[in-house]
Symmetry: C3
């Protein structure tokens, strides 16, 4: 489900800028959808990769692209629904990605990073392909919410909560953080805004 | 042969825009040439990678770059020859990539995607490195031809045609589709050209 | 140490252009730092990856980002110190990367390429993420110095010099080449500057 939705989101994003043909849109939707998980699996060496091993991922993505085309006007208008589904998507991707990394015995900090990668890297690759500055550098709190949720999932698992409880609660945490961040336009503080000029500064003669 | 030719094509493309030095051109030629196959092998876990295991790929690429330099003016003028060789290159890369994926027991749909990736991803990475919109989003039917040829190869293999027959025929199919597409400027239909404006639309007060 | 320094360098570079928030800077610093080595390990199939297996890499990177923030003004002013540390960083990454590739029984030419990839690919990915033309296509002799040092390391190892001698000497070679190149603005010759116009040239009617 998350896979299909990410494909839709990728397709819509792809179409907004450069008006690609059907192949271009499908390609972008595909990459957005499987990019994050593939990168995670290649980093932790979790072969075979999900979509390489199970062709159903490919079918879901293709079906999503067709659905996006049919309901294009509807989807473009339902920005709120879309936003909520997107948030649901990244939340699920994060937690399932974290779980997979833990199963491959990575340290919990690394697992949280892998969970976040699962959720955001598809979008990052999409933005690179369409030659835009990746959205994670522009948005309200986004990847940080994923990271927080992943850590909460790990913490809860550690204290022997049931798997479903952990999944649901941590997914919820990510969604809530994200919803609040967007509603009140919260973003992390800027790194340093000052004094970059110093570097290029040369004393001027008068 | 395909490897060498892709390196040349990458070198020429690299040189057109940003006038890089010898290293830059060689680097781009190298990435264009081995990028698609490396990505495919990393996705299906086919270690060791071709060029990592066999240094001859590297030598062929370096020789191609030197040849490109020597015959630069000739190559730049022979656009038709160049185009036919490029088409031959992507056709062969597609079919050999598909074959390799099948040998690693992927589903045939995934194998076709892997074949296409082998052929186009080197160019996609090249375009990302040189900060351009990837060519697959701009061109006449290109990646779709690869996909079609890959599926035909798989279909023929399934019905016990000999390997050479399958290879030759499906390679030919890709070349013919591509040549016709370029000759008559055929491209896939656009996804949706309408109504993107809706999203940003705000009612104006008068 | 090299890891930490690369993270700082990435953070500073990230901050210069797009003024990202703390997450953005950390993300870029992280990718700059582990990108080259991760790509090398994924190419040669050297699982598990360093930072995936050892969380200390992550801690070092996070500490470096915090230090960069605290000493931002100082770092931005100390351009010379910075340059020397950066040179030290790429030198060490190159040689250690080459060594790792050799341990995985790659051909020595491939090992030298892998060493260079370790050193430069983090920066390349950083530049792609921030939507700039990768620095390796713009700078004075940079990647070529890495390649030269890697080959010297391999040559020395072959003749049974001790490991430490090889490491130190070849690291020194890279640093010296790089320092001289920057001091005297040396760069490799351009590939071909002429006659690109031919391709687009159309005879004008008068």
């Amino acid at each position: 489900m998350g896979t299909g939705f990410f494909a839709m989101s990728g397709a819509l994003a792809a179409n907004k800028k450069s008006k690609p043909d059907w192949f271009g849109v499908t390609f972008i939707g595909f990459i957005t959808s499987i990019g994050g998980g593939s990168l995670r699996d290649m980093l932790i060496g979790a072969y075979p990769l999900g979509w390489v091993n199970d062709v159903n991922f490919v079918y879901v993505i293709m079906a999503s692209i067709v659905l996006t085309s049919i309901f294009y006007n509807l989807l473009a208008r339902l920005k709120k629904t879309f936003f909520i589904l997107d948030t649901l998507g990244i939340s699920m991707f994060t937690i399932l990605g974290t779980e997979k990394a833990l199963q491959h015995h990575t340290h919990y900090v690394v697992a949280a990073i892998m969970g976040m990668f699962s959720a955001i890297m598809g979008g990052v690759i999409r933005d690179i392909l369409t030659n835009e500055v990746p959205i994670i550098f522009r948005k309200e709190i986004y990847a940080t919410a994923c990271l927080a949720g992943a850590l909460i999932y790990i913490l809860m698992s550690h204290f022997y909560f049931g798997r479903v409880t952990c999944l649901l609660f941590s997914t919820l945490v990510i969604m809530v953080i994200r919803l609040i961040a967007v509603k009140y336009h919260l973003s992390l503080p800027k790194f340093k805004e000052i004094q970059d000029a110093i570097e290029e500064h040369q004393p001027h003669t008068k």
